[in-house]
Symmetry: C2
Subunit: 403 residues, 2 copies
């Protein structure tokens, strides 16, 4: 049994829906049971949101969910009827009909459970279930949407609930690469990658899959196959264990260019100051990323952290207000930053990786502004206009072009 | 408590949705509890059907229902969020959430029952319920659509279930007229009309309301107010009893121009012949209207009937096949016909109405090809290019321009 997820670009036009349907039909003819999870066609979601804003500049979340959920419930029957036209029995299901039960957090609902009875019945009858992704219902049958990465999440969660053999994520790239192929010509497609590596890569800029869906895959042990919707070639398998020879090394490089930094200068070095600054940001839904606190001099310190550059204006306003209350000297900010990260479980217990990274960047004349690490990731903040060069340098340094 | 129904034209753009919302807000501020039933925006349904045909020339009814139901579930949250933006608490409901239970006849489902618990709860909380018209669900939560006149039917059925004081149908005309105002300048808007008169008028060409919704109104005694969505003026009340002085007369004139006739010449005058001809038409979903059988000579007769001109080609093919099996001489057909009808409960027991009608048409040089009557209606088939003249002549003959 296979769960296949087709994103908005893959189903963006009638011609593309026919192509997706042919692909599903082919999988069915190879003897598989197929559950297809589909997104809204092309820019449908954006168009619905624009329509909402034209009647209410701040559309309430419950009604916005009711509205945008139509995007996916338009695609699903189109794919099902296209399949039927090709002689493949198929039935479309809304989130409700597919048994996707969620929390009541509109626009960012969490899947609580999936009751797949209806889907299992369809599969037993030899039919393809075409499920509207990105949506579910609460206990009270209120329509919810899952937020970013929603359709991926629906697909992986369904694969978990159905105990499917694999969840295939069809996308416009060929798989997960050692680095962005647009930046590094010699970037290599990985045949396998671990869930935790994929999570780290996704967190620091790799956009192929949303970390949320990867987490569910890890939790329930669902193998995820990220592959191209444009051809039949295999992509990258996201799994718990990668083959032996792929372990002891850096696995991938990611970059994220939408980064800015804010420095609160002359903060009193006492408890509660960081909370006073970061709490308002959290309430406003602004994610703070790398945080560095300089060593204090005479009881005062500088606090620097990064935010998405698109959040900079809003963040600055909140931080300036907070800075006043804690008696900071001033607030400085700068855009034009980028994150440059290396990821790999092979880094665990391999001393010297960080040193090699910093040395390679220094030799290339790239200044490191901030550093942040996890067990399997090292991230450096660098000037944005140097990040592509940095990606290429690190790709070469860690020999990622070699198989 | 008022149920208001807004059709596709009334909610066709964001600006019109704002206007509809202002109207609902005004009704709420006047102290009424309001349930608004909305159709799909403008030509959304047609666009969805075209999209369906582009992936499957004969889209299966179950999937087509899943698809087109999105039209109404897009409008409903838009109206609800617009109302909220105006400070009027409102919640949108799909057919399922509104408790509209239907038969499983996709694309032409019948409403079995409405469980209005959720709506009543919203009204108790002082909120407007904005219900997606035209749709419902089966016991198995399969999405259905109600077919022609669906949103009107939802509105009147909801009004019945909620025991609302009135069901207001907002439309692009000012109400029900004694004749089509585009044809008869002196046509008069009726303040009241009986359910049965409205049914007859709708059946013979008046397009303002679908007979199906009128039937439910009659069955449950729901007063229906047909009024303009463009201004506040009162329209026409459809009720069980009209004021005394409005009774004893012809009430309205309707015309229908999409008419053709088929004649089966030389049919054997024996049982079973009519069935052999009309059964295949019924199976093909082709409605046969006026039927006339000439007096037979030497055991043979001619059978003439009317069909919609848009059905003529398909009907002719079926009739020719059937005519062979019953040994008819030949089949003739002609388009370019129109129906011209007078309607009014006042005709009951008033001899001479038919005579006056035929005389007036004869004096105007209009030839009557066929005649059909009910208790409260007389219909003549005439040449299409004479029907407008006929409407004007009859409007004058029966003094419909006088109050």
């Amino acid at each position: 049994m296979i769960v296949q997820k087709y994103g908005g670009t893959s189903v963006g036009t009638a011609a593309r829906i026919r192509r997706v349907s042919r692909r599903i039909a082919k999988t069915v003819k190879s003897g598989e049971q197929v559950v297809a999870v589909v997104s809204a066609m092309g820019n449908t979601t954006d168009r619905l949101i624009a329509l909402a804003r034209s009647v209410n500049p701040e559309p309430p979340a419950r009604e916005l969910d009711m509205l945008v959920a139509n995007g996916e419930t338009i695609t699903a029957p189109l794919v099902a009827m296209c399949l039927q036209g090709m002689g493949v029995p198929a039935v479309s299901l809304s989130g409700l009909q597919a048994g996707v039960q969620t929390s009541a957090h509109h626009s960012r609902a969490r899947i609580h459970a999936i009751k797949p009875d209806r889907i299992l019945e369809l599969l037993r009858e030899g039919k393809v279930a075409v499920v509207a992704g990105f949506q579910g219902v609460t206990e009270d049958l209120e329509v919810t949407t899952l937020g970013r990465g929603g359709s991926d999440t629906t697909a992986v969660a369904l694969a978990a609930a159905l105990k499917a053999d694999v969840c295939e994520i069809f996308t416009d790239v060929d798989g997960i690469f050692t680095a962005d192929p647009r930046i590094v010509k010699s970037a290599r497609k990985l045949t396998h990658i671990r869930y935790d590596e994929m999570l780290e890569l996704a967190a620091v800029g790799a956009r192929v899959m949303h970390p949320r869906a990867v987490e569910i895959g890890e939790l329930y042990g669902v193998p995820i196959h990220v592959r191209s919707s444009f051809h039949d070639g295999v992509g990258t398998m996201i799994v718990a264990k990668v083959p032996m020879e792929d372990r002891q090394r850096v696995r991938g490089i990611a970059q994220e260019t939408n980064v800015a930094k804010i420095t609160v200068v002359g903060v009193a070095d006492r408890p509660g100051v960081a909370a006073a600054i970061f709490e308002p940001l959290g309430k406003a839904g602004i994610s703070v990323d790398v945080i560095v606190q300089n060593i204090g001099r005479s009881g005062r310190t500088d606090l620097t952290f990064s935010v998405a550059e698109s959040d900079l204006k809003a963040a600055e306003k909140l931080v300036k207000a907070a800075a006043k209350t804690v008696g900071a000297t001033r607030v400085a900010s700068a855009g034009g930053i980028a994150k440059l990260s290396i990821v790999g479980t092979g880094m665990l217990g391999m001393p010297g990786i960080a040193g090699r990274m910093f040395r390679a960047l220094a030799d290339a004349g790239i200044n490191i502004e901030m550093i942040s690490t996890s067990e399997i990731r090292i991230t450096c903040l660098v000037a944005r206009d140097q990040v592509d060069k940095g990606v290429r340098v690190l790709h070469k340094t860690f020999e990622l072009d070699r198989d």
